[in-house]
Every structure is written in C-alpha cells, then in structure tokens.
Symmetry: C3
C-alpha cells in the first residue's frame, strides 16, 4: 500500500511541476487568460501537461486495482516506469514534438499492463 501511495505522490508532484511550467510559459510569452494558444513553446508545455493529466486519470485507478488484485509492489514498479517515461516524453516534446512517440509508447505500455492486470485480476477474483 505504502509503495502505491509513494508512486502516486511522485506522479502527482510531477504533474504539478508540469502545470507550473505551463504557467511559466504563459507569462514568458504573454499569453493572457483565457487564451491558451499563440506561442508554439507555450502550446508544447500545455500539451505535455494536458496529455499527462489524461494519462494519470487512467493510470492511477489502474495501478491501484492492479496493486489490490494482482501485486502491490509490481504495480508500484510499473507506475514508476510511467513516471520516468513522462520525464522523457516532456524532454522529447519540448525539443521536437515529432520525437515524442517512443517515450509516449513506454508510458502507454506501462498503463496497458496495469489496466490488463486490473481487469484480469478483478474478473478472476469475482469468479472466485
């Protein structure tokens, strides 16, 4: 349980860091709210953040269900792979968005493994 909470906290802190970067890019490029376009660099920061939030909405429930029905330490470890993949994803996206595929793929596989484990584990537990 603790390992899942620690990885969840790390993932949330990473997302907050990405959000602060969006705010910074907003100020740097003078994108006044409610606008959210007008600078390619701002839009990159914004997309990195938005995509990470979308992924987290899937990842966190999947990781906790995998942890409960399959194995908590494995769930936490795979969740950690996701967090690292987002470091790479952000680096690639900010440098050249067309190179983001590989890091995205690593995170996507981590997410898929957790989700498949969650569904298999919960169905097996349900069937007794």
């Amino acid at each position: 349980m603790e390992s899942l909470a620690i990885v969840t906290s790390l993932a949330l802190m990473q997302a907050v860091y990405f959000a602060l970067q969006v705010g910074g890019a907003r100020q740097k490029h003078g994108i006044t709210a409610p606008k959210s376009s007008g600078s390619d660099e701002f839009e990159r920061h914004n997309r990195v953040h938005q995509n990470t939030m979308e992924q987290l909405t899937i990842l966190l429930p999947a990781m906790w269900m995998f942890g409960y029905f399959v194995h908590p330490q494995w769930a936490a470890g795979i969740g950690l792979v996701f967090v690292f993949s987002r470091v790479m994803y952000r680096r690639a996206y900010l440098k050249d968005p067309s190179t983001r595929g590989r890091a995205f793929g690593v995170g996507f596989i981590a997410q898929a493994v957790l989700l498949i484990g969650a569904v298999v584990g919960s169905v097996m537990s349900w069937m007794g």
Copy 2:
C-alpha cells in the same frame, strides 16, 4: 468490490480506445503536434475523448462512494449505464454533434444518481 473494479476497468479501457481514435484522426488529417485544431473530424474525436475524461473524473469517485455507502452492485450497474451511454454519445457526436444531447443526458443522469447517492450515503453514515 469486484463489480466496481470490473466496471472501472471497462470505463478506463473505453477511454483508452477513444484516445487511440484521437491519435488516429490526428495522423489521418495531418494535425501535427502541438496543434489540436484544423480538422472538424479530428476535433470531434478530440472533444468526445476530452468530454469522456471530464466525466470519468466525476464518475469514478462517485461510483466508488455510492458503492461503499449505498450498494456496490447498484453502483456498478449504474456505472455500466454510463459506459454504454458513452458508446452512443460517441456515435452521435461523430455523425452530427448537434444530436449528442440524448446520450449525454443518459450518462449525466447516471453520474448524478451516483453523486447524489454518495453524498446522501456519506452524510447519513457520518450522522450515525
């Protein structure tokens, strides 16, 4: 508990499927990142996905709280209605966005029932 986990997994897999459709529409219409506009069909896929993610952020906690404080199988059943409503919502939205109201409404009612049950159940439990 298992029934809630199974419906949660289904809802998450549906959201991942919608996300993959956005990626497909992005490639098909040549919308290069970080752009997220420029093709009506892409924007429809994108809005279906975004709206579903917003709904999930409400639905999943509401369903689990309803399941804990009111009734787990009813929570899972109402959650399943939501998942089906999103199949219809997507179909309507991609065909003609102006017809999305009915399917949206079904999902919204499912969400509202879960949320009202969660608040009533938790307040009643709190009051002993």
Copy 3:
C-alpha cells in the same frame, strides 16, 4: 472517512455545476460543438471548468492519502478550503481573469499541503 467522502462529493458537485455553466455559455454565445472558442465569456467559463478538473485530479488522491496516512479530519478541512477557493477563483476569473491569482494561490497551497503530507506520511509509514 465520512468527512473525506462528504468533501469529495462537494468538490464533485461543484465541478458538475461549473460544467453546466460551460454548457450554458456555449448555448448563450452560439458556440456549436466541436468548437470551443469564439467568445471571451465562453472561454472564461471553459477555463474555470478545465482548470478545476485539472486541480481535482491532483487534489482528490492527495486528500485521501493525507487522510489515510496523516489525519482524516484535517484532510477534509483542507479539502474544504480548496472548494471555497474555487468559488472565489471562478468569481475572479469571470470578472477579470488577471485577478484570479490570489484565489488560485489559496487552492494551490491547500493542494500542496495535502500532497506534501501524503508523501511524508506514506514514506514514514513505509519506513516503519
């Protein structure tokens, strides 16, 4: 536990209310789906909602982990501060987006306290 569920329900109902306001502004200004720009007032409502959803994705897991590892009533109380800060944030944003900083800051601090408590509490519990 009940106090956390009640504050979670409040935060979710607030987010649903914000979403309904976006729908209302969409109709009022004739922004037909899938478009999500074209009216400054619509975009303000939309940004208030989107930003609140992003915050909730962080806040809810952080509040529950703080509640589990540190103190449930304190977690719920700080979560309530967040909900109130969003009332102020919305009011400021709709009036003049440039004045949103203070209310955003209050909510951000509530979120940060919950997240720091969650990570410290889970690491201390893990270390035994």
